[in-house]
Symmetry: C2
Subunit: 131 residues, 2 copies
DNA sequence: TTTAATATATGATTATTTCATATATGTCTA
DNA sequence: TAGACATATATGAAATAATCATATATTAAA
């Protein structure tokens, strides 16, 4: 999932490149959405972009869903779709809910780490510095 | 840098494994420390663990410093050390300060993304749910 | 009929992190 | 003085994660 800051990359390209994402942040996001009701890959894509305000790599999304099923956090089955092609519909499992809970706790730590950075940053740069 | 949440991994191992870190978070952290004064790799290791409260992979730290030098965010030179072996001493550059600023802005976005997740999470789970 | 939207998926590559290991210097202690 | 330990820098190899490109199928609309 694309979040966070822009920068030049390490490679030769002069193109600015997005980086600084929270690794595997998409997983708790998916689980949160599925905890409200079953959904399918493409539907999750739209919800993730709406709720997170960020672009999601569609290939990554489908691959992640399969991996999450391997982990036992979700289960899927083909659902008939009258208005289009059939969809693989995902449901959250008990194990998935438990992971979501752990992820939330852990993201609190991530959050406080970022805030610790901000505190230090403000302390250093807030008062009339040249930069 | 080790932060964030624990989980089982995708592979066969049953060992819990740390994941969910903010990618390349160590870079703005290093730059913040260097903006306060020059330092060397091992010294930064200690400061990062003290200020961030987290373990840092030493190999990753040294490699990152070299990459940051390639990017022009820091410059280094060998400094004589009377009490031990010589150290490679790093100084932040103007370009490094500029990147630090951009990173801070970007981390604000990361932060608000995590908070948006928390809001949704609380809305779904706060009121007397079974889980 | 061809374009677009919906829908799922994988191959290949790149990026990033972690784990293991190698090297060097200085201090302390048995 | 030999060995252990802390300090100090660094790279090889592997694992992990994300991105980019592409393939396929279905339906609606132009």
């Amino acid at each position: 999932m694309i979040i966070s800051y822009m920068s030049i990359t390490y490679n030769d390209s002069l193109q600015p490149k997005v980086f600084g994402t929270v690794q595997r942040f998409i997983e708790p996001c998916i689980l949160l959405l599925l905890s409200r009701g079953t959904s399918h890959g493409y539907g999750l894509l739209e919800d993730l972009e709406k709720h997170c305000g960020e672009k999601v790599d569609i290939g990554n999304l489908y691959r992640t869903l399969r991996k999450m099923e391997t982990n036992g956090w979700v289960k899927s089955e083909w659902g008939v779709n009258k208005t289009g092609r059939d969809r693989r519909v995902y449901t959250i499992t008990k194990s998935g809910l438990a992971f979501l809970e752990r992820a939330a706790v852990s993201l609190t730590q991530t959050d406080s780490l970022i805030h610790r950075f901000f505190e230090g940053y403000k302390k250093t740069f807030q008062k009339g510095t040249s930069l």
